[in-house]
Every structure is written in C-alpha cells, then in structure tokens.
C-alpha cells in the first residue's frame, strides 16, 4: 500500500509537469495548428535562464523564476515571429521541419553557451516531508501545488478575461476572430508568450530536483506533443488530464510491470485511445 501511494505521488508529480508543459503546447497547436516540436527545447532554455539568474547573478529562486518566465516568453514571441509566421499557409509538414530546425538550433545554442556538463540549481526547498507513510521532498510538493495553481490561473485567464477568450476564439475560428476585429497576429504572439512562459515555470520547478543539460528537452517535448494529441489538439482539459494520465501510467506501469518498457505503455495507451477516438479524448471532429 505504501509503495502504491509512493508511486501514485510520483505519478502525480510527473503528471503535473507534463500537464503544464502540454498546456502551453496545446494552446499553440490549437491556435496556430503548428506542430511546435521545439516546445521541449524552450523548456530546456527556461531551465538554463533560471540557472543563469540564480547562479551567475545570485538572484533568489522566485525572482529568477519570474524573470525566466518573462524572458522565455519573449523568446517564444520571437520564435513565432521569425520561424512560424512566415510559414503561414504552407503545409503543416513544413512547419514541422522548421520546428526541428528550431530545436536543433536551441539545443546547440545551449551547448555552445553552457557546455555539455550537467548543471544544477541549488534546491530552494530541500526539506523532507513524511505523510501517509510516503516520503517526499518539499520541492516535489511545490511542483504538484504550483502546477495546480498555474493551471487554475490559466483557466481563469482563458475563461474569465476578454483577452483570454480571444485565444479561444482564434483557436475555434481564425477567420471569424479576424472579422470581429481581433488582431490575430497579436493573439498568436501572446499565445506563444504564455506557452513559453509556462514552459519556463515547469523548468524552474523541476531543475532544482533534476539536472540541466542541453538535451533534456527532447524527451519531454516529445511527450508533451503526444499528450496534446492524446487529449485532442487544442483542448485545454485534454492536455491537463492527458498529462496526469501519462504521469500515472508511467509511474505505475514502470513501477509494477516493467521499467524497460515504461515508455511503451505510454505510447501504447496513446495508440489505443486514438484508434478508438481518432481525434483524441477531447478532440473535435475534424473540419
């Protein structure tokens, strides 16, 4: 039972990260129909920016996190402007190639600037908490809690503010949104900003427990991509549920069945879902 709870907690912790990274990606994919494969690499860059502020400039953890959000947000805006916007109207596979180009660029950039050596952000909350027979680090609890707060905030932003609603409007009907006077390009920029900023938050949450390396974004990016498809492209609840779902499958499948084939469970589940519902859990009919 203790083991189960422990695995459950691990699953939720990872699911939280997946959920916020996938959330950022689903906004971008829903709105621009851009398969932004470089999203995981933005996440990686976010971790390094936080590292830079904490280690090189000696800022506090939370200040660094905020700065990282803002800076990475602008990196996302720039990326949208110079990489993806010129590709509007081309087949999506081209945007996909551009995204691969962008991710190669970002990974090499990190390699050139910070080198290949793994780097570490000192853990701001190293306390150990014991509860219900399971042990957890405070920082991990922060990941779970922080992710939940972020999700709620984003939800409120999308549902309760006019600016947030414009994002949904553009995602649902681009031309319709244009005709109501929404500046679609600005919404695209804003979406990229939010998407990148959430990736920076996820990276800042996780990097004190893990290690920064230029290649760290690849796997997470791929998983986020899969979650977005699993949940239904552009669907916010789909990304959140998909994220937690994947985290739990990995933790439980990896802990109880076979660690080697851990990823097979995750990807297998996706295939299963899509062959039953070809547009994802919360996906609309294609139109």
């Amino acid at each position: 039972m203790e083991l189960f709870l422990q695995q459950l907690f691990n699953g939720i912790m990872f699911g939280s990260t997946y959920a916020i990274v996938a959330l950022g990606l689903t906004l971008v994919m829903g709105i621009l129909h851009i398969p932004n494969f470089a999203h995981g690499h933005l996440y990686m860059l976010g971790g390094y920016i936080t590292y830079f502020f904490i280690t090189n400039l000696g800022f506090g953890y939370w200040y660094s996190l905020l700065l990282s959000m803002v800076i990475l947000g602008f990196v996302g805006v720039v990326m949208e402007r110079i990489v993806f916007r010129p590709l509007t109207g081309q087949p999506p596979i081209n945007a996909f190639i551009a995204a691969i180009g962008a991710l190669i660029f970002l990974e090499s950039l990190a390699l050139v600037i910070w080198g290949p050596q793994g780097m570490r952000i000192p853990n701001p909350h190293p306390q150990i908490i014991k509860m219900f027979g399971i042990t957890m680090e405070a920082q991990r609890l922060l990941v779970v809690g922080g992710a939940a707060v972020l999700i709620v905030l984003l939800h409120l932003f999308l549902k309760k503010t006019t600016t947030g609603t414009t994002i949904e409007a553009v995602a649902q009907n681009r031309e319709g949104a244009m005709l109501t006077g929404i500046n679609v390009n600005r919404v695209s920029s804003m979406t990229f900003f939010i998407s990148s900023a959430t990736a920076a938050v996820a990276a800042s949450f996780l990097s004190p427990i893990f290690i920064l390396s230029p290649a760290m974004g690849a796997v997470l990016g791929m998983k986020a991509f899969i979650i977005v498809i699993l949940g239904g492209m552009g669907s916010v609840p789909g990304a959140i549920l998909g994220g937690y779902f994947l985290g739990l499958i990995e933790a439980l499948g990896g802990g109880y069945i076979s660690a080697e084939y851990k990823d097979v469970f995750a990807f297998g589940a996706l295939i299963l879902v899509l062959s039953i519902k070809p547009t994802g859990l919360f996906g609309k009919q294609e139109g």
Binding site: T162, T165, T166, E168, A169, Q172, N173, E175, G176, A177, M178, L179, T180, G181, I182, N183, V184, N185, K284
Partner: protein, 236 residues
C-alpha cells in the same frame, strides 16, 4: 461612404473579381445579387480586408483600406457577417457576442448597451445566452452571427447571404430584423443574396454581379422589372 474603384481580386491563380467599381452612401441599404460562384463572397472578403485586391482601391469614408489588416478595418467601422457564419462553436452565445464587441474593449457600459439591443432584436439569443454556439440550429446561428456583427456598432454592415440554407419563415424573420437595423440604427447595409425576391423587397438599390463583373446596377424597383434579372434571379 464605401467606394470601390476598378477592383480586381485573385485567389491563387484564379482571377475572381474583374474591374468592379461601386459606391455606397451613408445610411443606404444596398443589395448585391449574383448566382452561386459569381464572386459575391470574394468581393465581400476583399472589402473586409480578408483578401487583398490585386489591383484597384477600396475607400471607406475617404480612407484607403485595401492594404489595412482586417482588425484595423473593423476598428474603422466595417463589419462583415460572413457566409457560413464563422462562429466560435465552443464559446457560449454571450461570449460570442462579447467577442463581437472586441473593438470596443474596455468600454463596458457600451458593450452592455449593445448586448441589450442585440437581445432585443433576437430574444432567442437572450434565452440561450449560456448555450454553446455550436449546438445551435442554422437559423439561430445566423441570428447569432448578425448579432455578433452588430456588437461593435458598425457604421457599415456587410451581410453575406444570410438566408442561405434557411427555411422561408426564418428568412422572413431575419429580413425583418435587417430592415429594422437599417432604419432604426442608421447602419449602412450591404447585403449579398441569391434570393433576389427577398433582397429586392427590402433594399433600396442593387448591383448585379456575374462571373466577377458588375453587369447591372440600379434602384430595386427598376431591377425587379429588368428581364434579365427576372429570368436569372427571380425565376418568374
């Protein structure tokens, strides 16, 4: 108010609009007749800025708008209520309407006023204000689309085939509302229709578009008696 001069529009390699010039005065209620594929929608999209003319100018109140992005044109007061409605299917009716007032963002009381007025024109939208737009029937969606277009208090409304695919009873209802809008709110309306019967009965003046060319223009009462128009669009 709206002035098109020698407008040509291409879509891809196809030349859709050829040398169209027209002029609409403030407060007028004008129709654009044309059969399916005549280029009505393309012409409207060109005016609204979704498409850019290959040649020619579009002026609104003396300002050249043919190079402006769509949202700037909306800010100037031209709103297109598009064919196929282009609603936000997963937003509620109310949110769809509020989005329609995007160019008035920040002016809460004005939005509230406009919302009440749209509800007045279309009571059914008020009843179902929390329902998702995607669940509506065709007629209701059309009402919502018109309502949304009105939310920004446009000085000019472009209505692209509002009657398409709707039952005659609903067409009548919509036609009444459109007339009301023109009279009461003093909104200039440019209406495109295949259904010439309805259009010629409520509007004052009309243009006839054929294969992307403007072949005829005149007052409605004259158009109604024109043999060609009769044959082609009224079916009498």
């Amino acid at each position: 108010m709206l002035k098109l001069e020698q407008v040509y529009t291409d879509i891809g390699e196809l030349h859709i609009i050829h040398n169209v010039s027209l002029n609409i005065q403030k407060g007028e209620f004008v129709t654009l007749l044309g059969s399916n594929g005549a280029g009505k929608t393309t012409l409207f999209r060109t005016i609204a800025g979704v498409l850019k003319p290959a040649f020619g100018t579009v002026e609104f109140n003396g300002i050249a708008i043919d190079k402006l992005p769509v949202h700037k044109i909306v800010d100037l007061g031209i709103v297109l209520c598009p064919q196929g409605r282009q609603l936000f299917p997963e937003l509620s009716v109310k949110k769809n309407l509020v989005m329609g007032a995007f160019s008035l963002r920040g002016q809460k009381s004005k939005i509230k006023k406009n919302l009440d007025r749209v509800y007045e024109h279309f009571p059914i939208l008020k009843e179902r204000s929390n329902q998702l737009a995607g669940t509506f029937s065709g007629g209701e969606q059309q009402m919502l689309a018109i309502g949304r277009a009105l939310m920004s208090e446009p000085s000019m409304l472009l209505l692209d085939e509002p009657s398409m695919g709707l039952a005659p009873l609903i067409v009548k209802q919509i036609a009444d509302v459109i007339s009301n809008i023109n009279h009461e709110m003093d909104t200039t309306i440019f209406l495109s229709e295949q259904n010439a019967n309805m259009a010629l009965n409520i509007t004052e003046r009309g243009y006839v578009l054929e294969s992307g060319k403007c072949v005829l223009e005149g007052l409605c009462k004259d158009l109604k008696n024109d043999e060609n128009v009769k044959r082609a669009y009224i079916g009498a």
